[in-house]
Symmetry: C2
């Protein structure tokens, strides 16, 4: 066992999947879950996503080597703050929030009660449109990208420990600054959500009955939690708006070629996009 | 057996899946495939998607009760024309093209050699981003929507025979005019393709490595055949552009709320979209 105790604050889809993976891969002797709601606590225990459950953060955090905050973005800084108060010497706190600059800035403002405690921001890029521990699975992180944030406040040892932790769960770890993260993630995650929600908004319900697999997949993420995503969009507003401008440029070029009735123009744009996607998915242009 | 012989012209993903379904469900005594390429013919025979294969359209069409043209949109009218020349008395020709007004108009111009031969336009809405008979599967059409086109030239008997044929393969059949079809399909199929191709275009390749399942699903259809889709977009240009305007309105409303930093505004738009999608997918607001 690599760790004695790992505590997860917020045991939903992601937190629960981390718990299941830590237990499956025997990475810690004990996984403790900290809950806000009794009903979620019961579900998590039934699912064996955690070994021990509590609604008291002080009790949950006590003696943990790693503390993972897996709650909605806006709640993360204050939970980091609380966790720090009760964490043991040398404990490392991390999170799973989808935007990082805002969280890192807020966390940097916190006064640490013990100097040996570190906060390292993380973003394991796994999930689904479903929320809740009932959808958690032990292999959710396997093979998914996970970004770990380096900052001037992050010690090298804590950084490599957290990177190692995510790798031990099967994630593909990249280290970058919070700014690099927010820019990249705005493009590959936040923008697709903006587009998918807009796509659903633009089709009347009585027409949706003719939708097939293509529409379902293109809009899958639009079944995600609206509050969670409003929160993510707003906490990374500048980069999301920048990505939106990049999207508008591509979209307008395609619509323009189509308006002009240019088969060659349209086919060229589609061909370039297909080759790029195939290269990313299959590692080659198919 | 409902039919003696069914002929499929163009045995790719859709044509091959129709062949497999007809055989699996014992709907016709014989399935004949008409091919342009030797390599595809071999693959289709290996896969047993057809009982008999030919590269000669005259030979393939001979004696068929139903002739299904499952080739790219632009090639359909001329193949309808050729099929009519060799079809037997009372034969019904149908197609699987993704746009219908253009095909129906072209088909209406054809002079039938025999009055008892009918053409009924169809659009089974199944498929995937993969092309080719190697991806064909017998259950591709099961539970998918299939639109059958009524027009002033379509006889009621032929219409109900073709509707019955698709139903017998497990599809959920709706009957409508080609105009209604093209409007609905522009929204639920063509527009998601426009958006997905544009989304891929807007993300640099070196950033794509951070993309996870959300991005993959949202852009899955952007791995579709660019020529096939350029063709579809252009053959339904007016309706695709109209759908694009509907999308732009929804998209702009969301971007505007985000620019304004309005959590309530953003959450409201996302919530409405999620409820609509969930209603469509799960039959209720989840």
């Amino acid at each position: 066992m690599k760790f004695n105790r790992i505590t997860i604050i917020g045991v939903g889809l992601i937190g629960g999947s981390i718990g299941l993976a830590v237990k499956k891969r025997r990475i810690a002797k004990e996984v403790v879950g900290v809950f806000r709601r009794n009903s979620t606590m019961k579900k998590a225990l039934t699912k064996r996503a955690v070994d021990r459950a509590t609604m008291n953060i002080r009790e949950g955090v006590k003696g943990a080597d790693i503390i993972i905050i897996a709650s909605p973005v806006y709640s993360i800084p204050s939970l980091v703050h609380e966790a720090m108060r009760y964490a043991k010497e040398g404990a490392i706190i991390t999170d799973v929030g989808s935007t990082k600059s805002w969280i890192m800035e807020e966390a940097a403002r916190l006064k640490k009660p013990k100097n040996s405690i570190s906060f390292v921001g993380s973003h394991p890029m796994a999930g689904s449109e479903h929320a809740g521990v009932e959808f958690a699975k032990y292999d959710l992180l396997e093979g998914s990208p996970c970004i770990v944030i380096k900052s001037k406040d992050t010690g090298g040892k804590a950084l490599s420990k957290i990177s190692g932790f995510w790798k031990s769960l099967g994630a593909r770890v990249s280290v970058m600054t919070s700014r690099e993260h927010d820019r990249a993630i705005a493009l590959v995650s936040h923008l697709p959500h903006v587009v998918a929600f807009s796509l659903v908004s633009s089709v009347p319900l009585n027409i949706l009955k003719y939708a097939a697999e293509g529409f379902k997949d293109t809009t899958r993420v639009a079944s995600s939690d609206p509050k969670l995503w409003a929160d993510i969009f707003l906490s990374n507003r500048k980069e999301v708006l920048k990505s939106a401008r990049a999207f508008e440029a591509s979209y307008k070029a395609l619509v323009k070629a189509l308006s002009a009735g240019s088969y060659r123009g349209v086919a060229k744009i589609l061909g370039r996009a297909k080759r790029k996607r195939d290269k990313f998915i299959y590692g080659k242009a198919a």
